[in-house]
Amino acid sequence: MRAVLLGATKGMGRALARLMAERGDALYLLGRDRDDLARSAADLEIRGAAGTVGFTHCDLLDPATFAPALDAAVAALGGLDAVVVSAALFAAQETLERDGALRDRMLAANFANTIAFCELARERLLAAGGAARLCVFSSVAGDRARKPVLLYGATKAGLTYYLTGLDHKFAAQGLRPILVKPGFVKTGMVADLQPPPFAGEPEPVARAVLRAIDRGTPVVYAPGVWRWIMLVIRMLPRAVMRRIAF
C-alpha cells in the first residue's frame, strides 16, 4: 500500500504509521517540522517501510502548502492508495474561550483546512486509481456536544458530517472514506488531562484503524467500546446534558 500521512509524527498517527511500516507499506510523511519528520522517517524505515520514507513540509494552518505537498508525495510514491489525516489542534475548552486567536486557529485547522486538504486528497486518490482510502481522524467529541469539548467537538462534528457525505457521494466512483472516531486515547495531545474510564492506548487504536483501512470500513470507533458509550450519551436529554460535567 502506498500511503501519505499528515500528522504521523505523533500520537495515533505515529502508531498507525509504524504498523504500516512493519508490514512493508510505502509511506510518505507530511508535517510542519522538518526535523521531526526526518526522525519519524528514520524510525519508519528501520521498522521496515518499503524503500525510502520521504517527507515534505505541509502545514494544516497554511492551505497553500497542501497541493504541492500532496503532489510531491504522489510523485515520490509513484502512485497513491491511501491518505491518512491524523493531525489536529487540541486545547482545553477554557483555554479556547480565553484565547480567541487560538480558537480561530483551531477552528480553521480542524475544520475548514482539514476539509480543504481532503478535497485535494480526494481528487488525487480517484485520479490515481488505487485503493482510494481516505482515512481521517475525527472524534467521538463530534457525536454529541459536551461541555469540556464544545469548540473542539464542533470542528469534529463538522468533519464527521463532511466525511459521511463524501462516502455517500463518491463511493460509487470507488472512494472509500474511513471515518475514525477515537475515544479518549492516551497520547501526548492529552497528556495533561486526567484519563477517563475506558481510555485507550494508541497502538490498539492503530490496529483497529488499519483493519478498517484494509477492509474499507466507513466508520470506526476506537477503542470500540466508545461506540456504545456515545450511543448512551447521544440519547441523554438536554436537561441532563446541562447538569453533567463531561
Binding site: T9, K10, G11, R14, E22, G31, R32, D33, R34, D35, D36, A38, R39, S40, A41, A42, D43, I46, R47, D59, L61, A87, A88, L89, F90, A91, A92, T95, D99, L102, R105, M106, A109, T187, G188, M189, A191, D192, L193, Q194
Partner: protein
C-alpha cells in the same frame, strides 16, 4: 566485545528547527496536572508533576529530572518535594538509526526495551544487557546502568553504550562518549539521571544465533552449594541466575533453582520465530494483608519440588528466560497499596567467604520476610562512575513493607558497609545517607563531575535529596 568507533551513527537531519514542533508551537502548553507518582515498589508515593510529550527536547528544558517507565523500585524517578516538574520520556520512542551490518542502534531515550526486543529478535540482534523486565526505557537502562544474567561476561549496559545525547543543567545539548566529554559520559552511566537529561542513546547490540533460548535448570539443595553451583555455571554459560528460597528453614535455607541459558543454535531452535503476546494486567491493588509469608513459603516450596531433582533442559521463549515476571503486567499490585521494596546489595567475593552466610543470617535473625530472592554473581566493575555491580555476589530481595522494614534495611546495610559491599540505587528506598556514604568511596569523584556540569544543583530527585544531600 564493545566496538569503539569515532563517529556517531549518522542521523539524517539537521537540528536547527528545534522550536518548530507541532502542535506545541500552535497551542500553548497547559499546566501540568498534579498526580500520584511512585516507583515499582509503590513506596514511597509522592504528589508531583510529570509532563509527557513526544518532544523530549522541549520537555526537559525546565524539568529537574527525567523519568521513563517508572520501573526503579524506590524514589529514583520521583521529583523532590516542592513544585518541581519531571519530564516523562516514554512518548519519545523513535528509532533514529540502525546499522544492520554492525548492529549499532540509536534511539530516543524513551524507547522501550520490549519494543527493541520484538523488532530485533528476528533480525538476529539482541540488547547486549537486559534487566529482569522489558518495561524499561533505554534512557532508564543508561541512568541505572542496568545489569543482567550475563553480568559476569558482559558487564553493565553502559559498557556497550557508544554515545549519549543529553541536555545538561545549563540547558545546552551535548553529545558525549568515551572520546568526547568522557567524564560526563562516565558519570552519566549509572548516574540516576542526575548529571543531565538523556535524550538519545547509541549502543552496540549483540549478534544472536537464533531468536530462541536454550535453557538448563537444576535444583540446588542449600545456600552454600547454590553459590558454588552459580559460580561454576558462570564459567560455561553466558546467562546464569539463581532463584533462592529464603523462607525455607534450617538446612534448607537458600535452596533454590539454578538457571543457565544461552542463545540456541539454529539447528536446535524451532523454525518459527517466537510469538509474543500482550500480557494481561493485574487490574487492582490486592489488600496489603492478603499475601502472607506462609503462602509464599508454600509457593516457593512447590516451585522447588515441582522442578524435581532431575536437570531440565530445552528451548524456551526468550521472554520466559529474561522476563518471567512480565507475564503479568502491574504484578506489583500483589503487594497492595502498602507496597514493597527490593533490597539489592552486592557483597565482595569469593562465594565461599563467610560474609555471604553472615548476610543471610542477619536477614534470618531479623525475621526478614523475603518473598523473592534472586542471586547473581557479578563480574568486574565497569565504566560507570557510580554503577552498582562490583565483583562478588549480588542479592536482590523482595520484601513487603511493614513497620520493621527500615530496621531490617539498616541491619543489612551495617553488614554490607562493613564487608565492602554496596546497594543498588535503582532499587533503594530505605538506605540512610550515612550508610550510602560508607559504602561509596567513589561518591566524591562522581559529585565533582556532577557539580562541574550542574553547579547550581538544578537536577535532583527525591532520592538525591534523601541520599546525596541535595537541597529540595
Amino acid at each position: 566485545m564493545t566496538l569503539i568507533v569515532n563517529e556517531p551513527l549518522k542521523v539524517a537531519l539537521g537540528r536547527e528547527s528545534l522550536n518548530d514542533g507541532w502542535p506545541e508551537a500552535a497551542v500553548p502548553e497547559p499546566a501540568p496536572r498534579l498526580t500520584e507518582l511512585a516507583g515499582w515498589g509503590h513506596y514511597p508515593v509522592v504528589q508531583g508533576y510529570e509532563r509527557r510529550s513526544e518532544d523530549l527536547e522541549s520537555l526537559t528544558r525546565d524539568a529537574v529530572l527525567t523519568r521513563g517507565l517508572g520501573r526503579s523500585y524506590g524514589d529514583s524517578s520521583l521529583p523532590p518535594p516542592g513544585r518541581h516538574v519531571v519530564a516523562g520520556s516514554p512518548l519519545a520512542d523513535r528509532l533514529l538509526a540502525f546499522d544492520p551490518a554492525a548492529g549499532i542502534v540509536r534511539v530516543e531515550a524513551g524507547f522501550a526495551l520490549m519494543n527493541l526486543n520484538r523488532l530485533f529478535y528476528s533480525r538476529g540482534w539482541f540488547t547486549p544487557v537486559t534487566p529482569g523486565t522489558h518495561y524499561v526505557t533505554v534512557g532508564g537502562m543508561v541512568a541505572a546502568d542496568v545489569h543482567g544474567k550475563n553480568h559476569h561476561v558482559a558487564g553493565c549496559f553502559g559498557e556497550h553504550v557508544r554515545c549519549l545525547r543529553m541536555r545538561v543543567a545549563d540547558g545546552r545539548i551535548i553529545e558525549c562518549s568515551d572520546r568526547h566529554e568522557r567524564e560526563l559520559f562516565r558519570a552519566t552511566l549509572g548516574g540516576m539521571g542526575l548529571t543531565g537529561h538523556l535524550l538519545e542513546v547509541e549502543f552496540q547490540m549483540e549478534r544472536i544465533a537464533s531468536p530462541w533460548i536454550w535453557q538448563e535448570s537444576e535444583q540446588v539443595r542449600d545456600f552454600e552449594s547454590a553459590l558454588e553451583a552459580l559460580q561454576a555455571a558462570g564459567k560455561e554459560w553466558p546467562y546464569t541466575v539463581l532463584w533462592s528460597d529464603l523462607l525455607a528453614g534450617g538446612a534448607k535455607l537458600g535452596r533454590g533453582l539454578l538457571m543457565k541459558s544461552r542463545w540456541a543454535q539454529p539447528h536446535e531452535a524451532p523454525a518459527a520465530p517466537p510469538r509474543w503476546h500482550r500480557a494481561p494486567a493485574l487490574p487492582v491493588f490486592l489488600p496489603s494483608w492478603l499475601l502472607q509469608p506462609w503462602m509464599v513459603a508454600i509457593g516457593s516450596a512447590l516451585n522447588y519440588w515441582k522442578h524435581g531433582a532431575r536437570r531440565r533442559a530445552g528451548i524456551v521463549h526468550p521472554e520466559t528466560c529474561f522476563y518471567p515476571l512480565d507475564v503479568v503486567r502491574e504484578w506489583n499490585r500483589l503487594y497492595g497499596r502498602r507496597g514493597f521494596t527490593q533490597y539489592q546489595a552486592v557483597l565482595p567475593g569469593p562465594h565461599s567467604h563467610p560474609r555471604q552466610r553472615r548476610f543471610i543470617e542477619t536477614l534470618r535473625a531479623r525475621g526478614g520476610k523475603v518473598f523473592l530472592c534472586v542471586i547473581k554473581d557479578c563480574g568486574p566493575e565497569g565504566k560507570g562512575m557510580l554503577s552498582f555491580p562490583k565483583p562478588g555476589i549480588s542479592y536482590a530481595l523482595d520484601i513487603p513493607i511493614d513497620g520493621d522494614t527500615q530496621a531490617l534495611v539498616d541491619a543489612l546495610n551495617d553488614v554490607v558497609a562493613a564487608e565492602g559491599g554496596r546497594v543498588y540505587l535503582a532499587k533503594d528506598a530505605f538506605t540512610r545517607a550515612e550508610h550510602f556514604r560508607a559504602m561509596e568511596p567513589r561518591l566524591d569523584a562522581w559529585n565533582t563531575v556532577r557539580r562541574a556540569w550542574d553547579p547550581g544543583g538544578r537536577l535532583k530527585s527525591a532520592q538525591s535529596i534523601r541520599l546525596l544531600g541535595d537541597r529540595a
